[in-house]
Amino acid sequence: MRTLAVAEATLREIARRRSVLVLLLVIPLAFYLARRGTEWWQGLRFMVMGVGWAMSTAALFAGNGARAIEPRLRISGYAARHLWLGQLLALWTVGAAVSVPYWVLVRVDLPQVRSGAMALILALTVLIAAPFGLGISALLPRELEGMLVLLTVLAMQTVLAPEARAGQALPFWFAREIGVYAVESDAGADHLTKGLTHAAVAAVILLAAVAVLSGLRLRRRRHLRLSAA
């Protein structure tokens, strides 16, 4: 199937990007270890943001890497949806694989954290990061500018106080909300609900953006009429 063919090619391509793999595996761990001990809940937060940022970067690079070949893939019989859906599937697969060791780490190292909520946070982060990175790639075809945007978002997520309303405009705000539920044993379930809602809205917006931007860029042009031989 065409979508799976794209997913397979994207997986192979990511697997050969050593810098991205290092980012994915090392950065979140480094963030976590930086705060381990005293402010372990900060370390947890930074780790999750690290996963989000690394995944977004992987998605950015995957989107840019495919740019050169997308026009001829269209000519060869692919529809736009095969392309972005296939890329997302590959990215989600990578994200899921990378998240498992982190989930295990937290479960073993910080047993007081609600592991179910933790799994939810990681899963949602991966879910959102992939279309976020692909969307940036669609808007900003040069990697440097895309990276700048990602870094800015990451910085904003870190810097903004949790109560600031502006924070909700950022794609990974949900992680902090659900994080409260995961970390504080007496936290109410409303954090969970708010986080889930935000994640759902963010997911819908980002997926729609990717679909629309890709569809636009690879649209069938009206001046060309194709018929059977």
Partner: protein, 280 residues
């Protein structure tokens, strides 16, 4: 090199130039046997000798197989006339800022026809091809393509971190070809362009410019398209591969495909069916 090697290379080089090699090679072999001298001393490098022979037999330029020469006494044309229209572009107009790059251009290509698009740099050759491929929209005009389309850009068009085999499978999946067939088609096409061992090749990013372009060219022909749009795809080819490329173009012509080649090298123009000159 030994006489056998030299004669083998001569056979290849004669093929590339459209000369039936057997008689020429036999005569050369005979001469070498009688004289007992080294082939390079007597004839020079195989490519140079093949070129001299081809020029003597065919005149300057390269002859495609099955070419319809003006009928001499008793000679019969060997190729069918071109068939149904496969690509029809009408009134293509494109403006960039204040410059009109294409002004009402028409292009018709039939099955079994090769059309060359020529013109100075910047006169819109690539743009015309991109419009026919559906990658850019014109300001006016229509394009009608009957059958499958194949397109080869001047450069780019490959993924740095995928191997050639992986490219073949990817394009094949789009055309509905299974993996094994797609790989086989790709490898066969590579062998024809003097690129054996493509299955053991590193990723596209590690290939030389010319080899990467060979990959580009092969990809455009995968899945048996009916119309081929080639934008000077021979960048970085050495002379031998450049000749192989034209042999492949004429092979496609024999297979009743419609081929459009953007080129600014004029020596092959008397071997195409039609020439569209832009910028006049």
């Amino acid at each position: 090199m030994t006489a056998e090697e030299w004669l083998g290379r001569l056979t290849t080089e004669l093929h590339r130039r459209g000369v039936a090699p057997d008689a020429v090679v036999a005569e050369a072999a005979h001469h070498l046997r009688e004289s007992g001298q080294a082939p390079e001393r007597v004839f020079g490098p195989p490519a140079a000798y093949a070129a001299a022979v081809a020029e003597s037999l065919l005149g300057p330029g390269v002859e495609p197989p099955g070419w319809v020469r003006p009928a001499a006494a008793g000679e019969e044309p060997g190729v069918e006339p071109p068939g149904a229209v496969r690509l029809e572009a009408r009134g293509i107009t494109k403006r960039y800022a204040h410059r009109t790059v294409l002004d009402g251009v028409d292009l018709t290509v039939r099955a079994g026809e090769v059309v060359a698009v020529v013109g100075a740099n910047g006169c819109g050759k690539s743009t015309l091809l991109r419009i026919c491929a559906g990658l850019t929209s014109p300001d006016a005009g229509e394009v009608h393509v009957r059958g499958r389309l194949g397109y080869c850009p001047q450069e780019g068009g490959t993924v740095e971190r995928l191997t050639p085999d992986e490219h073949f499978v990817l394009i094949g999946a789009g055309r509905g070809t299974d993996r094994a067939t797609a790989r086989r088609q790709g490898r066969t096409a590579a062998a024809v362009l003097d690129w054996p061992g493509v299955d053991r090749s590193p990723v596209a990013g590690k290939l030389s410019g010319g080899t990467r372009q060979k990959l580009n060219l092969i990809m455009s022909g995968l899945g048996d398209p009916d119309v081929l749009l080639l934008d000077e795809p021979y960048q970085g080819f050495d002379k031998g591969s450049y000749l192989d490329f034209w042999q492949q173009v004429w092979r496609w012509r024999t297979e009743r495909k419609a081929v459009v080649v953007v080129t600014h090298l004029l020596s092959e123009l008397n071997r195409v069916d039609n020439v569209l000159e832009l910028g006049r």
